[in-house]
Amino acid sequence: MTTGTVSDFVGRSYRPAVPFDVNRTIIRHFASGIGEHHPACHDVDAARALGYPDLVAPPTFGIVATLPAAEALVRELGLDFSRVVHGEQRFVLRRPIIAGDSLDVVVTVERVRAVAGSQILTTRADIADADGAPIGTATTTLIVRGEA
């Protein structure tokens, strides 16, 4: 694992072969896993009462959809997953993710830099719906800790 090698990945994109299909069960499951009991995450009528067409995902749910591409990237880079910690995260959402969405996720390596023995990797995930309309972006900075 050298900076030179990893830098070659800047600009590369990863797009899982299959879309990330979001159903009611996975939204309920994720919401429960973070202790989110708001009815709009669990009950369709409650979500519709708030103006959504179906169950609403919590704002950080998008990270789950980006994980398949991010893991493929970590594997291709030959990085040791246990040395990876999360440095920064940003979501910009034109709308929340909703049950029934079929998400097209493209993860692009934006930047790689070396700081104090660690490598810092910034990726941007563009999330779109089945028609290609953008839903939002998730920008992730991962810190790959060097050997102590």
């Binding site: 202790g35 959504y52 246990s82 929340p96």
Partner: protein, 157 residues
């Protein structure tokens, strides 16, 4: 604190208002649960042995769990889990979660930092674990009103 049972009104908010003060407990079981629902199987979130081998003090919480709880505090205030349109954090300190029954306490506070064009506000968040700041530059843009994007037209606001 205002009554959390009522949805916040844009017109009633002033920059500087502290609108969120919420505590969460994080225990090992919460990390296992989050690993399951998120698919993040990194062993630093469940194995002390592996966490220490890579120089961490012990098992740490998923940064995304900390962020999710901060997000919950915000969406509870808005009374709408779909109200957050932007959400950014830096993970400045690991949240070390001991293998005991008590876990650790996460304190989330948020204040109104800016009134954007109605019905949106920007909140600045302060997130501490056992008194120490664990998130930096944490901010969220929150829509205090019904979603418009599910009407025919998708706007760029």
């Amino acid at each position: 604190m205002t009554d959390q049972a009522h949805r916040p009104r844009y017109d009633a908010l002033t920059v500087g208002d502290r609108v969120v003060a919420r505590q969460f407990t994080i225990r090992r079981a919460d990390l296992i649960r989050y690993a399951g629902v998120s698919g993040d199987e990194n062993p630093i979130h469940w194995s002390d042995r592996i966490a220490r081998a890579v120089g961490l003090p012990g098992v740490i919480a998923h940064g995304m769990l900390t962020m999710a709880l901060a997000g919950r505090a915000v969406t509870e205030w808005a009374d709408d889990p779909g109200a957050v349109e932007e959400f950014a954090v830096r993970f400045t300190q690991p949240v070390v979660v001991p293998d005991d029954d008590g876990g650790v306490t996460l304190d989330v506070e948020a204040t109104v930092a800016e009134k954007l064009p109605a019905p949106r506000v920007r909140l600045d968040l302060t997130v501490r674990c056992e008194g120490e700041k664990v998130l930096g530059a944490a901010r969220a843009v929150v829509r205090l009103g019904p979603p418009t994007t599910f009407d025919a037209v998708v706007s760029d606001h």
